[in-house]
């Protein structure tokens, strides 16, 4: 491809942006930093290395990264739930402490709901020390509810 037909890099100004596929790249995808498949072409400046995303590349990145993201999140969720439920098997208590809808944990556990990034992060955090985390959340909820009662009186 001659330079005349190449796209210009808005970063360094050189007209040397070409579709480049190479190993070792990562991309921020939702809440995770994921490896970009080596075969995926991203318009990249041959001079400064800046990557430029157009609509076609955006779609290709989503198609490649979404399944990986979902798989990682599913694995994180399963690990976190296993750990939490091994310490506390009362799902109602857990759901109440986390302020999530009754039955939601069961739906997550059985794959009937796709977990949000937020809930996976929260459960991962709680799973680090489930008993203390749940106790702490319950204590804070009681404190805040108590504070509300005093304000109202």
């Amino acid at each position: 491809m001659s330079n005349a037909t190449k796209r210009r890099c808005g970063q360094c100004g050189e007209r040397v942006v070409v579709k480049l596929a190479r190993p070792g790249r990562t991309a921020a995808y939702r809440s995770l930093e994921l490896a970009v498949p080596a075969s995926l072409e991203i318009p990249t400046c041959e001079n400064c290395g800046a990557e430029w995303i157009d609509l076609q590349t955006a779609r290709a990145l989503d198609e490649a990264l979404e399944p990986v993201y979902q798989e990682i999140q599913r694995a994180r969720l399963d690990r976190a739930l296993d750990k939490i439920l091994s310490v506390e098997d009362n799902q109602t208590r857990i759901e109440r402490a986390l302020a999530i809808s009754p039955g939601y944990l069961s739906k997550l556990k059985h794959g009937k709901r796709a977990p949000s990034g937020e809930i996976v992060s929260l459960l991962t955090l709680v799973s680090d020390d489930p008993e203390h985390a749940l106790e702490r959340l319950e204590t804070l909820s009681k404190r805040d509810a108590g504070g509300r009662k005093r304000t109202a009186s």
């Binding site: 100004g13 800046a50 990557e51 157009d54 590349t57 979404e66």
Partner: protein
């Protein structure tokens, strides 16, 4: 005070972006929007096609080109948007799109972080 005029005709910028003729810098723009790439591109498209000259701040002369800077309100905060047109393709290049670090004066007034 007279309103400043962008170097790149805003209607031309909007038409190119609406037609999908644009590319966004990965590190200085995409990375700040987050989410999926298609959603982020659609959000970027929405921001640019919704621009008015009231959001225009100033024109920057770069070593190789000229870019227009806008201050926009996005996700309840002020954001910095820098773009240019590559007329040879032609397409809009979004060089920067990130939350403001300091207030930015635009034709419509000051946009705050």
């Amino acid at each position: 005070m007279r309103a400043k005029t962008p170097h790149w005709d805003l209607e031309r910028v909007k038409a190119l972006v609406a037609a999908g003729s644009f590319m966004i810098q990965q590190g200085r723009a995409f990375a700040h929007i987050g989410g999926t790439y298609a959603d982020a591109a659609a959000e970027m498209q929405g921001v640019i096609t919704g621009l008015t000259t009231r959001s225009f701040s100033h024109t920057q002369t770069l070593t190789w080109d000229i870019a227009d800077v806008y201050g926009v309100v996005f996700r309840d905060g002020g954001w910095y948007l820098k773009l240019t047109i590559d007329e040879e393709i032609p397409e809009v290049a979004v060089i920067s799109f990130h939350p403001l670090e300091a207030p930015l004066r635009t034709n419509g007034g000051e946009v705050r972080p």
